[in-house]
């Protein structure tokens, strides 16, 4: 999952990015509205966190412009003022939720998870596909009740595929959503991750949850139960 953080206070920006990276997200950040708007329009994010009081272009204007460009990923606004006038105008501009500063990181994590889950159409945090269960809140995967040991890259790859179950996801799309811009886009890396995931999820080769579509990408094949 790739997130965008637009926050002008450098310390908060940094700690937000750090925290989200620890949660296994790929994070781009911008320190003002102009840069933020550029990034928001250029890249396919899964969620954006926007501070309302931004230099250059203020948060509400930025959200409006992003929504005008038909970008539909969820937007979480941060506001220091906390009055309803601000919250309502942010939500009316196209944001999906708000968080009043200061906030606990746990609360941020819960909101971000909920918004991503909601945007992919999954209401419950636990997604079950036969014996495989993906808990998007705890970021764990279990098979037949046994919690798997996955690296965060492995988990992220799986979560992205699961959120887009049934659709073919190209390697390029995967790298865009899962890794930093300066990541070495060697498609072999993706293949290695997919290989490891298959082994961990389906050691006996019975379920075949991830199908390779030759020349196109990968597809999560299981249906939700």
């Amino acid at each position: 999952m790739r997130l965008l953080v637009i926050e002008d206070e450098p310390q908060l920006n940094e700690s937000l990015c750090l925290f989200l990276q620890q949660q296994g997200y790929v994070v781009d950040s911008a320190a003002d509205g102009k840069e933020g708007l550029y990034l928001a329009e250029e890249h396919p994010y899964d969620l954006a966190i926007v501070d309302l009081g931004l230099p250059e272009i203020d948060g509400i204007e930025l959200i409006k412009q992003v929504r005008q460009k038909q970008k539909s990923y969820p937007i979480l606004i941060l506001t220091a003022r906390g009055n309803w006038q601000d919250k309502v105008s942010g939500l009316e501009a196209g944001a999906d939720d708000y968080l009043v500063k200061p906030f606990h990181n746990e609360e941020l994590r819960a909101r971000v998870n909920a918004l991503i889950r909601r945007s992919t159409g999954h209401a419950s945090p636990v997604l079950e596909f036969g014996p495989i269960a993906l808990d998007t809140a705890a970021k764990t995967v279990s098979v037949n009740g046994q919690v798997l040991e996955l690296t965060s890259f492995e988990y992220n790859t799986l979560e992205y595929l699961v959120h887009h179950a049934g659709k073919v996801i190209s390697k390029i799309e995967l790298t865009e959503h899962l890794y930093d811009q300066d990541f070495d886009r060697d498609s072999n890396t993706i293949e290695v991750f997919i290989g490891r995931l298959r082994k961990k999820l389906d050691p006996d080769g019975e379920l075949k949850p991830i199908a390779t579509m030759r020349g196109q990408g990968y597809r999560f094949t299981l249906e939700r139960t």
């Binding site: 009055n83 309803w84 006038q85 309502v88 939500l91 009316e92 200061p102 909601r118």
Partner: protein, 463 residues
């Protein structure tokens, strides 16, 4: 404080004078007074000329009558005495001349007219009792003439017509008029100047209270006085009184701010002290720090929202609460989309209330947010007018508020620093705002089985 921008003015001396009240009045009187003086001068001069004329005619008539009285008829001839009663008729070139004509012939002329040539006589036919008064010249000089026609019965029973004419030189009259005019304009001119000077003095005196006001304001600024003295003329007094009211309100506001600021600073000190002691005890407990930060955040938020709700109160406008409620519900529906809430409304149209829109937004936002947060599925909002009050009813089907807790959560002025953390400041803000509008908030059980919050706001009389 607003910095007022000084409007640009053309740098033109004449226009600049309009910046001063005194200047305006002086310019007005300098422009208007001469016109009045000129008009009254002309009127006086005219009426003087007129009365001169009337007097002249009257005098000449008297002369004619005297001549008529002195005239006698002998042998069909008109005869007048050698020495007339009026000495000027006897003295040559005296300026007063007379003659008698009949049948276009001069029958008699006064001794004063020996060396004088009369102008062409009026050739009009004679009518008995007819009087003609006209201007003419005798010699080279302007003169007035009066002719009077009479019919005389002679001894032999015949009737004879005669014309008596009196000529009077106007040199003296003209001189008199000129002297009058000179005097008149001299007086009027000096009166104009005097009036302008007096008016200027009156203005200085009349506008002096304004100067006093400026001094008073200066003292106010330097802190010597707290209010303006009300020792002003009746015209300025209402302004001063209003100004004083504003000053008092402003000072009270300032005191309140200072008070709030003091409260805020003090209430922040306790959590800071806890953190510091925790720090110096050697081992930092994350939970303690976290708790104190939450407490400080609550305090700051509470004061911020209070400041918003108190500052707006001075400006009251008619607001329709219906769109505010609808906007809030749309926004909250987005936030709580996961819960798939069933939100229903029953709002009077319109729900008018005088006040500040952001106050209502805060108040309703907090209540509606609570309802959406704690409800299971249903939220119902009703608004209607009842007995001079606007009633807003927010009910949900959540766990509700237990009876013994209802009084506590509504306590007014429960300061955030004394409130338990996590209890939330939303309701405290709602109660604060409501009390500033003289409204009330009650909690009950809703017909869904959850909580029901009811706001009652008195509607100010729409006078």
């Amino acid at each position: 404080m607003l910095a007022l921008k000084k409007p640009r003015r053309p740098n033109w001396k004449f226009v600049k004078n309009f910046d001063s009240l005194s200047g305006r009045l002086i310019i007005a009187s300098v422009l208007v007074l001469p016109i009045f003086v000129l008009m009254s001068g002309v009127a006086l001069d005219r009426s003087f000329a007129r009365s001169q004329e009337v007097a002249e005619l009257e005098r000449m008539r008297v002369q004619v009558y005297l001549l008529l009285g002195a005239a006698e008829i002998f042998d069909g001839q008109i005869w007048l005495p050698d020495q007339l009663q009026e000495p000027r008729f006897n003295q040559p070139e005296s300026g007063l001349y007379a003659r008698v004509t009949g049948n276009d012939q001069v029958l008699w002329q006064s001794p004063s007219a020996l060396m004088t040539t009369f102008p062409e006589s009026n050739a009009s036919p004679l009518f008995t009792g007819q009087e003609i008064y006209w201007s003419t010249t005798v010699g080279d000089k302007a003169a007035k003439a009066l002719s009077f026609d009479v019919a005389w019965d002679t001894e032999d029973g015949l009737e004879k017509n005669y014309r008596f004419e009196v000529y009077h030189d106007q040199t003296a009259v003209t001189a008199e008029r000129a002297s009058y005019q000179r005097q008149l304009w001299r007086w009027l001119g000096s009166m104009t100047i005097l009036l302008i000077v007096i008016q200027w003095a009156i203005q200085l005196w009349g506008l002096r209270p304004l100067k006093g006001l400026a001094d008073d304001l200066g003292k106010l600024h330097s802190g010597e006085n707290l209010t303006l003295s009300e020792n002003y003329p009746a015209e300025i007094k209402p302004v001063i009184q209003n100004l004083n009211e504003v000053l008092v309100a402003e000072r009270e506001q300032r005191d309140r701010y200072r008070h709030t600021l003091g409260d805020l600073a003090h209430s922040l000190k306790t959590p800071l002290a806890v953190i510091r002691s925790n720090l110096s005890s050697g081992e930092l407990q994350r939970s303690v720090v976290n708790e104190q930060i939450t407490r400080m955040d609550d305090i700051v938020r509470h004061q911020l929202q209070r400041s918003v709700s108190q500052s707006g109160n001075s400006v009251k406008r008619q607001c329709d609460l219906k769109p505010i409620i609808e906007r809030l519900l749309t926004a909250l529906g987005k936030v709580y989309r996961d819960k798939n809430l069933t939100i229903t409304t029953d709002l009077a149209e319109p729900c008018m209330m005088a006040g500040d829109e952001s106050d209502f937004m805060e108040m309703l936002g907090n209540l509606l947010d609570n309802a959406c947060k704690y409800t299971h599925q249903q939220v119902h909002v009703a608004a209607y007018e009842q007995a001079e009050e606007l009633v807003i009813n927010i009910s949900d089907d959540g766990p509700g508020v237990p009876e013994h807790k209802r009084a506590t959560i509504l306590q007014r002025g429960a300061r955030a620093d004394t409130a338990q953390s996590g209890q939330g400041i939303g309701l405290a803000v709602v109660v604060d705002i409501l009390s500033s509008y003289g409204g009330s908030l009650t909690v009950d059980e809703s017909h869904f089985g959850g909580a029901e919050f009811t706001i009652e706001l008195p509607i100010p009389s729409r006078a």
